[in-house]
Protein backbone atom coordinates (compact mmCIF):
# COMPACT_ATOMS: atom_id res chain seq x y z
CA UNK A 1 0.00 0.00 0.00
CA UNK A 2 1.23 3.48 -0.84
CA UNK A 3 0.76 6.73 1.01
CA UNK A 4 1.52 10.41 0.49
CA UNK A 5 3.46 12.39 3.08
CA UNK A 6 3.26 16.18 2.98
CA UNK A 7 5.51 18.44 5.00
CA UNK A 8 4.67 22.15 5.01
CA UNK A 9 6.15 24.93 7.14
CA UNK A 10 9.15 27.14 7.84
CA UNK A 11 12.41 25.87 6.34
CA UNK A 12 15.17 24.79 8.67
CA UNK A 13 18.16 22.46 8.69
CA UNK A 14 17.46 18.74 8.90
CA UNK A 15 13.78 18.39 7.98
CA UNK A 16 14.32 15.73 5.32
CA UNK A 17 16.84 13.93 7.52
CA UNK A 18 14.45 13.84 10.48
CA UNK A 19 11.46 12.63 8.44
CA UNK A 20 13.57 10.07 6.56
CA UNK A 21 15.01 8.69 9.80
CA UNK A 22 11.52 8.20 11.20
CA UNK A 23 10.45 6.43 8.01
CA UNK A 24 13.50 4.16 8.05
CA UNK A 25 12.85 3.20 11.67
CA UNK A 26 9.24 2.36 10.80
CA UNK A 27 10.24 0.27 7.78
CA UNK A 28 8.58 2.62 5.33
CA UNK A 29 10.22 2.82 1.89
CA UNK A 30 10.48 6.18 0.11
CA UNK A 31 9.50 5.90 -3.59
CA UNK A 32 9.61 9.53 -4.63
CA UNK A 33 10.44 12.88 -3.08
CA UNK A 34 9.63 16.36 -4.33
CA UNK A 35 10.65 19.44 -2.42
CA UNK A 36 10.38 23.15 -3.10
CA UNK A 37 9.96 26.52 -1.43
CA UNK A 38 6.48 27.93 -2.15
CA UNK A 39 5.55 31.38 -0.86
CA UNK A 40 8.46 31.19 1.62
CA UNK A 41 7.20 27.86 2.91
CA UNK A 42 9.14 24.63 2.81
CA UNK A 43 6.89 22.21 0.93
CA UNK A 44 7.75 18.56 0.51
CA UNK A 45 5.67 15.70 -0.82
CA UNK A 46 6.79 12.09 -0.58
CA UNK A 47 5.31 8.97 -2.06
CA UNK A 48 6.04 6.02 0.23
CA UNK A 49 5.38 2.30 0.36
CA UNK A 50 4.08 1.26 3.78
CA UNK A 51 3.67 -2.46 3.09
CA UNK A 52 6.77 -3.21 5.22
CA UNK A 53 5.78 -0.86 8.02
CA UNK A 54 6.24 -2.22 11.52
CA UNK A 55 3.26 -0.29 12.92
CA UNK A 56 -0.44 -0.26 11.86
CA UNK A 57 -0.99 2.39 9.18
CA UNK A 58 -3.66 4.12 11.27
CA UNK A 59 -0.99 5.02 13.87
CA UNK A 60 1.33 6.77 11.41
CA UNK A 61 -0.73 9.97 11.25
CA UNK A 62 -0.24 10.45 15.00
CA UNK A 63 3.47 9.62 14.85
CA UNK A 64 4.16 12.13 12.07
CA UNK A 65 1.95 14.75 13.63
CA UNK A 66 4.22 14.51 16.69
CA UNK A 67 7.35 14.78 14.52
CA UNK A 68 5.73 17.85 12.91
CA UNK A 69 5.17 19.44 16.30
CA UNK A 70 8.77 18.80 17.24
CA UNK A 71 9.96 20.54 14.05
CA UNK A 72 7.28 23.25 14.03
CA UNK A 73 5.84 21.95 10.76
CA UNK A 74 2.59 20.47 9.48
CA UNK A 75 3.26 16.83 8.56
CA UNK A 76 0.54 14.53 7.26
CA UNK A 77 0.53 10.98 5.98
CA UNK A 78 -2.50 9.94 3.99
CA UNK A 79 -3.56 6.95 1.93
CA UNK A 80 -2.68 7.60 -1.72
CA UNK A 81 -6.24 6.79 -2.85
CA UNK A 82 -7.51 10.04 -1.32
CA UNK A 83 -5.61 12.09 -3.88
CA UNK A 84 -6.31 9.74 -6.77
CA UNK A 85 -10.02 9.80 -6.09
CA UNK A 86 -10.10 13.59 -6.03
CA UNK A 87 -7.91 14.29 -9.05
CA UNK A 88 -8.34 11.28 -11.36
CA UNK A 89 -11.48 9.90 -12.94
Amino acid sequence: MRAVITVIGKDKVGIIARVSRELAELGVNILDISQTIMQDLFTMTMLVDVSGCTRPFGELAGIFSAVGQELGLDIRIQHEDLFHSMHRI
Binding site: V4, T6, I8, D32, S34, T36, M38, T43, T45, L47, F57, G58, E59, A61, G62, D74, R76, I77, Q78, H79, E80, D81, L82, F83, H84, S85, M86, H87
Partner: protein
Amino acid sequence: MLKNTEILETIKMISEEHLDIRTITMGISLADCASDDQKTLCDRIYDKVTTRAAHLVKTAEDIQAEYGIPIINKRISVTPISLVAASVRNASDYIAVARALDRAAEATGVNFIGGFSALVHKGATDSDERLIRSIPEALAVTERVCSSVNVATTKTGINMDAVAEMGRIIKATAERTAVRDGFGCAKLVVFANAVEDNPFMAGAFHGVGEPETVINVGVSGPGVVKCALEKVKGAEFGTVSDTIKHTAFKITRMGQLVAREASRRLDVPFGIVDLSLAPTPAIGDSVAHILEEMGLARCGAHGTTAALALLNDAVKKGGIMATSYVGGLSGAFIPVSEDAGMIDAVTCGALSLEKLEAMTCVCSVGLDMICVPGDTTAETISAIIADEAAIGTINNKTTAVRIIPAPGKQVGDTVEFGGLLGTGPVMAVSSFDSAAFIRRGGRIPAPIHSLRN
Protein backbone atom coordinates in the same frame (compact mmCIF):
# COMPACT_ATOMS: atom_id res chain seq x y z
CA MET B 1 1.53 9.97 -11.10
CA LEU B 2 0.06 12.64 -8.88
CA LYS B 3 1.24 16.20 -9.31
CA ASN B 4 2.50 18.20 -6.37
CA THR B 5 -0.04 20.91 -7.07
CA GLU B 6 -2.86 18.36 -6.84
CA ILE B 7 -1.61 16.99 -3.55
CA LEU B 8 -1.19 20.46 -2.10
CA GLU B 9 -4.63 21.54 -3.35
CA THR B 10 -6.22 18.68 -1.40
CA ILE B 11 -4.17 19.46 1.71
CA LYS B 12 -5.21 23.12 1.52
CA MET B 13 -8.88 22.18 1.18
CA ILE B 14 -8.66 20.08 4.33
CA SER B 15 -6.38 22.26 6.45
CA GLU B 16 -7.61 25.74 5.52
CA GLU B 17 -10.96 25.48 3.77
CA HIS B 18 -12.87 23.13 6.10
CA LEU B 19 -13.30 20.26 3.64
CA ASP B 20 -14.71 17.34 5.55
CA ILE B 21 -17.03 14.40 5.45
CA ARG B 22 -19.94 15.79 7.39
CA THR B 23 -21.48 12.50 8.36
CA ILE B 24 -21.34 8.76 7.96
CA THR B 25 -24.83 7.57 8.79
CA MET B 26 -25.74 3.92 9.19
CA GLY B 27 -29.35 3.14 8.41
CA ILE B 28 -30.74 0.20 10.37
CA SER B 29 -34.11 -1.44 9.83
CA LEU B 30 -35.96 -2.07 13.08
CA ALA B 31 -38.88 -3.81 11.36
CA ASP B 32 -38.06 -7.12 13.06
CA CYS B 33 -38.01 -5.55 16.54
CA ALA B 34 -41.79 -5.15 16.77
CA SER B 35 -43.53 -6.50 19.86
CA ASP B 36 -46.65 -5.70 21.87
CA ASP B 37 -44.58 -5.85 25.05
CA GLN B 38 -42.72 -2.66 25.92
CA LYS B 39 -39.68 -4.31 27.45
CA THR B 40 -39.27 -6.81 24.62
CA LEU B 41 -39.61 -4.03 22.06
CA CYS B 42 -37.04 -1.81 23.77
CA ASP B 43 -34.59 -4.66 24.36
CA ARG B 44 -34.79 -5.74 20.73
CA ILE B 45 -34.23 -2.18 19.51
CA TYR B 46 -31.28 -1.62 21.83
CA ASP B 47 -29.70 -4.96 20.95
CA LYS B 48 -30.12 -4.54 17.22
CA VAL B 49 -28.78 -1.00 17.07
CA THR B 50 -25.80 -1.71 19.31
CA THR B 51 -24.97 -4.91 17.42
CA ARG B 52 -25.26 -3.53 13.90
CA ALA B 53 -23.53 -0.24 14.68
CA ALA B 54 -20.96 -1.69 17.09
CA HIS B 55 -18.01 -0.84 14.83
CA LEU B 56 -19.38 2.28 13.13
CA VAL B 57 -17.53 4.91 15.14
CA LYS B 58 -14.23 2.98 15.29
CA THR B 59 -14.35 2.36 11.53
CA ALA B 60 -14.99 6.03 10.81
CA GLU B 61 -12.11 7.01 13.09
CA ASP B 62 -9.80 4.52 11.34
CA ILE B 63 -10.72 5.92 7.92
CA GLN B 64 -10.15 9.44 9.20
CA ALA B 65 -6.69 8.50 10.48
CA GLU B 66 -5.64 6.62 7.35
CA TYR B 67 -6.96 9.03 4.73
CA GLY B 68 -6.43 12.23 6.70
CA ILE B 69 -9.91 13.49 5.90
CA PRO B 70 -11.95 14.68 8.91
CA ILE B 71 -15.18 12.76 9.46
CA ILE B 72 -17.19 15.06 11.68
CA ASN B 73 -20.26 13.05 12.63
CA LYS B 74 -21.09 9.40 13.02
CA ARG B 75 -24.84 8.81 13.16
CA ILE B 76 -27.58 6.22 12.99
CA SER B 77 -30.98 6.35 11.33
CA VAL B 78 -33.70 3.80 12.06
CA THR B 79 -37.08 2.74 10.70
CA PRO B 80 -39.77 5.29 11.65
CA ILE B 81 -40.67 4.35 15.20
CA SER B 82 -44.40 4.79 14.57
CA LEU B 83 -44.14 1.64 12.43
CA VAL B 84 -41.90 -0.32 14.78
CA ALA B 85 -43.93 0.52 17.89
CA ALA B 86 -47.39 0.13 16.34
CA SER B 87 -48.26 -2.83 18.56
CA VAL B 88 -47.70 -1.15 21.91
CA ARG B 89 -50.57 0.90 23.24
CA ASN B 90 -49.52 3.66 25.60
CA ALA B 91 -47.78 6.97 25.08
CA SER B 92 -45.34 5.93 27.82
CA ASP B 93 -44.25 3.02 25.62
CA TYR B 94 -42.99 5.50 23.01
CA ILE B 95 -41.00 7.35 25.65
CA ALA B 96 -39.45 4.04 26.67
CA VAL B 97 -38.49 3.42 23.03
CA ALA B 98 -36.96 6.91 22.79
CA ARG B 99 -34.90 6.17 25.90
CA ALA B 100 -33.78 2.83 24.43
CA LEU B 101 -32.67 4.62 21.25
CA ASP B 102 -30.82 7.20 23.34
CA ARG B 103 -29.01 4.49 25.30
CA ALA B 104 -28.12 2.66 22.09
CA ALA B 105 -26.76 5.87 20.57
CA GLU B 106 -24.65 6.50 23.66
CA ALA B 107 -23.37 2.92 23.71
CA THR B 108 -22.30 3.06 20.06
CA GLY B 109 -20.72 6.51 20.46
CA VAL B 110 -22.78 8.31 17.80
CA ASN B 111 -23.91 11.87 18.49
CA PHE B 112 -27.43 11.56 17.06
CA ILE B 113 -29.90 8.81 16.22
CA GLY B 114 -32.76 9.73 13.88
CA GLY B 115 -36.04 8.01 13.25
CA PHE B 116 -38.38 8.91 16.10
CA SER B 117 -40.60 9.61 13.16
CA ALA B 118 -44.02 9.30 11.59
CA LEU B 119 -45.10 9.57 7.96
CA VAL B 120 -48.55 11.12 7.99
CA HIS B 121 -48.74 12.92 4.65
CA LYS B 122 -52.14 11.45 3.88
CA GLY B 123 -53.34 10.53 7.33
CA ALA B 124 -52.19 9.28 10.71
CA THR B 125 -52.53 5.78 12.14
CA ASP B 126 -53.23 5.36 15.85
CA SER B 127 -49.53 4.68 16.31
CA ASP B 128 -48.57 7.81 14.35
CA GLU B 129 -50.80 9.87 16.62
CA ARG B 130 -49.36 8.35 19.79
CA LEU B 131 -45.83 8.92 18.57
CA ILE B 132 -46.48 12.54 17.60
CA ARG B 133 -48.08 13.27 20.99
CA SER B 134 -45.03 11.80 22.73
CA ILE B 135 -42.49 13.93 20.81
CA PRO B 136 -42.22 16.82 23.33
CA GLU B 137 -41.44 14.51 26.23
CA ALA B 138 -39.26 12.18 24.14
CA LEU B 139 -37.05 15.08 23.03
CA ALA B 140 -36.92 16.51 26.54
CA VAL B 141 -35.82 13.30 28.27
CA THR B 142 -33.28 12.20 25.67
CA GLU B 143 -30.09 13.81 24.37
CA ARG B 144 -29.35 12.13 21.06
CA VAL B 145 -32.76 11.18 19.67
CA CYS B 146 -34.00 13.15 16.64
CA SER B 147 -37.57 13.26 15.44
CA SER B 148 -39.20 14.03 12.13
CA VAL B 149 -42.75 14.04 10.80
CA ASN B 150 -43.65 14.05 7.11
CA VAL B 151 -46.87 16.02 6.64
CA ALA B 152 -47.04 16.37 2.85
CA THR B 153 -45.95 14.89 -0.46
CA THR B 154 -46.43 15.93 -4.05
CA LYS B 155 -48.39 12.72 -4.61
CA THR B 156 -50.79 13.13 -1.68
CA GLY B 157 -51.02 16.84 -0.98
CA ILE B 158 -50.78 18.38 2.48
CA ASN B 159 -52.27 16.83 5.62
CA MET B 160 -53.43 20.04 7.26
CA ASP B 161 -54.60 18.23 10.41
CA ALA B 162 -51.00 17.09 10.88
CA VAL B 163 -49.72 20.58 10.06
CA ALA B 164 -51.99 22.02 12.79
CA GLU B 165 -50.89 19.34 15.25
CA MET B 166 -47.19 19.93 14.57
CA GLY B 167 -47.56 23.62 15.41
CA ARG B 168 -48.83 22.59 18.84
CA ILE B 169 -46.16 19.90 19.20
CA ILE B 170 -43.36 22.35 18.39
CA LYS B 171 -44.71 24.78 21.00
CA ALA B 172 -44.97 21.98 23.57
CA THR B 173 -41.45 20.77 22.75
CA ALA B 174 -40.09 24.28 23.27
CA GLU B 175 -41.89 24.54 26.62
CA ARG B 176 -40.61 21.14 27.76
CA THR B 177 -37.05 22.26 27.03
CA ALA B 178 -37.52 25.91 28.08
CA VAL B 179 -34.49 25.88 30.39
CA ARG B 180 -32.37 25.26 27.29
CA ASP B 181 -34.19 27.91 25.21
CA GLY B 182 -36.36 25.33 23.46
CA PHE B 183 -33.44 23.13 22.44
CA GLY B 184 -35.76 20.16 21.86
CA CYS B 185 -37.07 21.88 18.72
CA ALA B 186 -33.57 21.73 17.19
CA LYS B 187 -34.04 17.94 17.11
CA LEU B 188 -37.44 18.06 15.38
CA VAL B 189 -38.08 18.47 11.66
CA VAL B 190 -41.43 18.76 9.86
CA PHE B 191 -41.06 17.61 6.26
CA ALA B 192 -42.78 17.70 2.93
CA ASN B 193 -41.49 15.07 0.47
CA ALA B 194 -39.17 13.55 3.09
CA VAL B 195 -36.53 11.24 1.61
CA GLU B 196 -35.77 7.74 2.86
CA ASP B 197 -31.99 7.89 2.66
CA ASN B 198 -31.12 11.27 4.16
CA PRO B 199 -27.91 11.01 6.21
CA PHE B 200 -28.27 14.46 7.80
CA MET B 201 -29.87 15.20 11.15
CA ALA B 202 -32.29 15.97 12.55
CA GLY B 203 -34.35 14.63 9.66
CA ALA B 204 -32.74 11.24 9.01
CA PHE B 205 -34.78 8.05 9.16
CA HIS B 206 -34.33 4.65 7.54
CA GLY B 207 -37.11 4.39 4.98
CA VAL B 208 -39.24 1.30 4.40
CA GLY B 209 -37.76 0.85 0.92
CA GLU B 210 -34.24 0.59 2.33
CA PRO B 211 -32.25 -2.61 2.91
CA GLU B 212 -31.61 -4.19 6.32
CA THR B 213 -28.64 -1.89 6.91
CA VAL B 214 -27.03 0.74 4.72
CA ILE B 215 -24.23 3.31 4.76
CA ASN B 216 -25.08 6.83 3.57
CA VAL B 217 -22.52 9.61 3.53
CA GLY B 218 -22.99 13.36 3.55
CA VAL B 219 -20.16 15.53 2.25
CA SER B 220 -19.57 19.18 2.89
CA GLY B 221 -17.31 22.02 1.94
CA PRO B 222 -18.85 25.50 1.65
CA GLY B 223 -15.42 26.94 2.47
CA VAL B 224 -13.83 25.15 -0.48
CA VAL B 225 -16.46 26.55 -2.87
CA LYS B 226 -16.04 30.06 -1.43
CA CYS B 227 -12.25 29.91 -1.85
CA ALA B 228 -12.60 28.62 -5.44
CA LEU B 229 -14.93 31.52 -6.29
CA GLU B 230 -12.46 34.03 -4.83
CA LYS B 231 -10.18 33.08 -7.72
CA VAL B 232 -12.77 34.08 -10.38
CA LYS B 233 -13.83 37.44 -8.97
CA GLY B 234 -15.99 39.41 -11.40
CA ALA B 235 -16.22 36.59 -13.95
CA GLU B 236 -19.52 35.96 -15.75
CA PHE B 237 -21.97 33.35 -14.43
CA GLY B 238 -20.93 30.54 -16.75
CA THR B 239 -17.50 30.67 -15.14
CA VAL B 240 -19.04 30.84 -11.66
CA SER B 241 -21.15 27.78 -12.39
CA ASP B 242 -18.22 25.84 -13.86
CA THR B 243 -16.02 26.71 -10.88
CA ILE B 244 -18.65 25.43 -8.46
CA LYS B 245 -19.12 22.28 -10.55
CA HIS B 246 -15.40 21.48 -10.57
CA THR B 247 -15.20 21.99 -6.82
CA ALA B 248 -18.33 19.97 -6.10
CA PHE B 249 -16.92 17.13 -8.18
CA LYS B 250 -13.76 16.98 -6.09
CA ILE B 251 -15.65 17.21 -2.80
CA THR B 252 -18.04 14.47 -3.83
CA ARG B 253 -15.21 12.16 -4.88
CA MET B 254 -14.06 12.26 -1.25
CA GLY B 255 -17.54 11.27 -0.17
CA GLN B 256 -17.65 8.41 -2.64
CA LEU B 257 -14.26 7.12 -1.48
CA VAL B 258 -15.19 7.26 2.19
CA ALA B 259 -18.63 5.75 1.60
CA ARG B 260 -17.17 2.81 -0.36
CA GLU B 261 -14.46 2.26 2.21
CA ALA B 262 -16.85 2.41 5.19
CA SER B 263 -19.23 0.08 3.39
CA ARG B 264 -16.45 -2.44 2.68
CA ARG B 265 -15.00 -2.38 6.19
CA LEU B 266 -18.37 -2.65 7.91
CA ASP B 267 -19.73 -5.16 5.37
CA VAL B 268 -22.82 -3.01 5.00
CA PRO B 269 -24.18 -1.99 1.56
CA PHE B 270 -23.31 1.47 0.26
CA GLY B 271 -26.49 3.49 -0.16
CA ILE B 272 -25.89 7.02 -1.39
CA VAL B 273 -23.70 10.07 -1.19
CA ASP B 274 -25.62 13.20 -0.28
CA LEU B 275 -24.08 16.04 -2.30
CA SER B 276 -24.78 18.75 0.18
CA LEU B 277 -23.05 21.96 1.11
CA ALA B 278 -23.65 21.92 4.84
CA PRO B 279 -22.33 24.94 6.73
CA THR B 280 -21.07 25.07 10.30
CA PRO B 281 -20.81 28.12 12.57
CA ALA B 282 -17.02 28.11 12.01
CA ILE B 283 -15.59 31.09 10.12
CA GLY B 284 -14.92 30.05 6.53
CA ASP B 285 -17.59 27.34 6.43
CA SER B 286 -20.61 29.39 5.40
CA VAL B 287 -23.08 29.03 2.50
CA ALA B 288 -24.11 32.68 2.95
CA HIS B 289 -20.52 33.75 2.30
CA ILE B 290 -20.56 31.88 -1.04
CA LEU B 291 -23.60 33.92 -2.08
CA GLU B 292 -21.89 37.11 -0.93
CA GLU B 293 -18.75 36.13 -2.87
CA MET B 294 -20.90 36.18 -6.00
CA GLY B 295 -21.40 39.90 -5.48
CA LEU B 296 -24.13 40.42 -2.90
CA ALA B 297 -23.30 42.86 -0.10
CA ARG B 298 -25.17 40.61 2.32
CA CYS B 299 -27.04 37.34 2.07
CA GLY B 300 -30.69 38.37 1.82
CA ALA B 301 -30.14 41.24 -0.62
CA HIS B 302 -32.16 41.13 -3.84
CA GLY B 303 -30.45 38.57 -6.06
CA THR B 304 -29.90 36.10 -3.23
CA THR B 305 -32.49 33.64 -4.55
CA ALA B 306 -30.89 33.67 -8.00
CA ALA B 307 -27.42 33.19 -6.51
CA LEU B 308 -28.64 30.28 -4.39
CA ALA B 309 -30.42 28.69 -7.37
CA LEU B 310 -27.18 28.78 -9.36
CA LEU B 311 -25.20 27.37 -6.44
CA ASN B 312 -27.67 24.57 -5.72
CA ASP B 313 -27.85 23.51 -9.34
CA ALA B 314 -24.10 23.64 -9.95
CA VAL B 315 -23.38 21.58 -6.82
CA LYS B 316 -25.63 18.81 -8.12
CA LYS B 317 -24.29 18.96 -11.67
CA GLY B 318 -20.71 18.83 -10.45
CA GLY B 319 -21.31 16.11 -7.92
CA ILE B 320 -23.47 13.73 -9.88
CA MET B 321 -20.69 12.19 -11.96
CA ALA B 322 -18.43 11.85 -8.94
CA THR B 323 -20.50 9.19 -7.23
CA SER B 324 -22.34 6.06 -8.31
CA TYR B 325 -25.47 6.84 -6.32
CA VAL B 326 -26.72 10.27 -5.37
CA GLY B 327 -29.45 10.64 -2.80
CA GLY B 328 -30.52 12.24 0.42
CA LEU B 329 -31.22 15.94 0.28
CA SER B 330 -28.35 16.95 -2.05
CA GLY B 331 -27.96 20.69 -2.47
CA ALA B 332 -27.09 23.73 -0.42
CA PHE B 333 -28.39 23.90 3.14
CA ILE B 334 -29.37 27.28 4.52
CA PRO B 335 -29.70 26.80 8.28
CA VAL B 336 -29.56 30.15 10.04
CA SER B 337 -28.00 29.35 13.42
CA GLU B 338 -25.40 27.00 11.90
CA ASP B 339 -23.98 29.48 9.38
CA ALA B 340 -21.87 32.47 10.46
CA GLY B 341 -22.85 34.45 7.34
CA MET B 342 -26.57 33.80 7.83
CA ILE B 343 -26.35 34.85 11.48
CA ASP B 344 -24.64 38.11 10.50
CA ALA B 345 -27.17 38.71 7.72
CA VAL B 346 -30.11 38.32 10.11
CA THR B 347 -28.45 40.40 12.81
CA CYS B 348 -27.80 43.34 10.46
CA GLY B 349 -31.34 43.21 9.06
CA ALA B 350 -30.43 41.94 5.58
CA LEU B 351 -32.15 38.57 5.87
CA SER B 352 -35.77 38.08 6.88
CA LEU B 353 -37.98 35.02 7.31
CA GLU B 354 -39.83 36.00 4.12
CA LYS B 355 -36.60 36.05 2.10
CA LEU B 356 -35.56 32.72 3.60
CA GLU B 357 -38.91 31.29 2.50
CA ALA B 358 -38.21 32.41 -1.06
CA MET B 359 -34.74 30.86 -0.86
CA THR B 360 -36.25 27.51 0.17
CA CYS B 361 -37.81 27.30 -3.31
CA VAL B 362 -34.33 26.76 -4.74
CA CYS B 363 -32.22 25.35 -1.87
CA SER B 364 -31.89 21.71 -0.86
CA VAL B 365 -34.39 21.69 1.99
CA GLY B 366 -36.23 24.45 3.82
CA LEU B 367 -36.51 26.76 6.80
CA ASP B 368 -33.80 25.37 9.02
CA MET B 369 -32.74 26.31 12.54
CA ILE B 370 -34.89 29.43 12.66
CA CYS B 371 -35.44 30.99 16.09
CA VAL B 372 -38.68 32.95 16.51
CA PRO B 373 -40.13 34.76 19.53
CA GLY B 374 -41.34 32.53 22.35
CA ASP B 375 -44.85 33.97 22.16
CA THR B 376 -45.33 32.92 18.53
CA THR B 377 -48.62 31.01 18.45
CA ALA B 378 -48.95 27.36 17.48
CA GLU B 379 -51.21 28.43 14.59
CA THR B 380 -48.58 30.79 13.21
CA ILE B 381 -45.98 28.02 13.34
CA SER B 382 -48.44 25.71 11.58
CA ALA B 383 -48.99 28.35 8.92
CA ILE B 384 -45.23 28.64 8.37
CA ILE B 385 -45.13 24.83 8.00
CA ALA B 386 -48.07 24.97 5.55
CA ASP B 387 -46.25 27.53 3.38
CA GLU B 388 -43.14 25.38 3.26
CA ALA B 389 -45.16 22.24 2.55
CA ALA B 390 -46.87 24.07 -0.32
CA ILE B 391 -43.50 25.04 -1.81
CA GLY B 392 -42.38 21.41 -1.53
CA THR B 393 -45.47 19.77 -2.97
CA ILE B 394 -45.90 22.19 -5.86
CA ASN B 395 -42.21 22.23 -6.80
CA ASN B 396 -41.57 18.49 -6.39
CA LYS B 397 -38.85 19.04 -3.82
CA THR B 398 -38.15 18.28 -0.21
CA THR B 399 -38.92 21.13 2.13
CA ALA B 400 -38.73 21.18 5.89
CA VAL B 401 -39.28 23.37 8.89
CA ARG B 402 -37.00 23.24 11.92
CA ILE B 403 -38.13 26.20 13.98
CA ILE B 404 -37.51 27.10 17.60
CA PRO B 405 -40.05 29.34 19.36
CA ALA B 406 -37.55 30.13 22.13
CA PRO B 407 -39.44 30.61 25.40
CA GLY B 408 -39.13 34.12 26.81
CA LYS B 409 -37.10 35.38 23.85
CA GLN B 410 -37.94 38.39 21.68
CA VAL B 411 -36.75 39.69 18.32
CA GLY B 412 -33.21 40.95 18.83
CA ASP B 413 -32.32 38.27 21.39
CA THR B 414 -30.06 35.39 20.49
CA VAL B 415 -30.25 31.74 21.44
CA GLU B 416 -27.08 29.75 22.11
CA PHE B 417 -27.31 26.10 21.15
CA GLY B 418 -23.58 25.41 21.13
CA GLY B 419 -21.52 23.14 18.93
CA LEU B 420 -22.63 22.57 15.34
CA LEU B 421 -26.11 23.90 16.13
CA GLY B 422 -24.63 27.35 16.69
CA THR B 423 -26.25 30.63 17.68
CA GLY B 424 -29.71 31.69 16.53
CA PRO B 425 -30.80 35.32 16.31
CA VAL B 426 -34.53 35.54 17.07
CA MET B 427 -36.37 36.51 13.87
CA ALA B 428 -39.65 38.34 13.44
CA VAL B 429 -42.78 36.51 12.28
CA SER B 430 -45.85 38.18 10.79
CA SER B 431 -48.05 39.70 13.47
CA PHE B 432 -51.18 38.96 11.43
CA ASP B 433 -53.22 35.97 12.47
CA SER B 434 -53.52 32.71 10.47
CA ALA B 435 -55.51 30.76 13.07
CA ALA B 436 -58.80 30.52 11.16
CA PHE B 437 -56.94 29.16 8.13
CA ILE B 438 -55.21 26.49 10.19
CA ARG B 439 -58.42 25.54 12.06
CA ARG B 440 -60.09 24.40 8.83
CA GLY B 441 -58.25 21.08 8.96
CA GLY B 442 -58.54 18.31 6.37
CA ARG B 443 -56.20 17.91 3.42
CA ILE B 444 -55.00 20.24 0.71
CA PRO B 445 -55.32 18.04 -2.41
CA ALA B 446 -52.29 16.93 -4.40
CA PRO B 447 -51.29 19.32 -7.18
CA ILE B 448 -52.40 18.54 -10.73
CA HIS B 449 -48.88 17.65 -11.84
CA SER B 450 -48.80 14.77 -9.35
CA LEU B 451 -51.09 12.86 -11.75
CA ARG B 452 -48.33 11.58 -13.99
CA ASN B 453 -49.29 7.94 -14.53
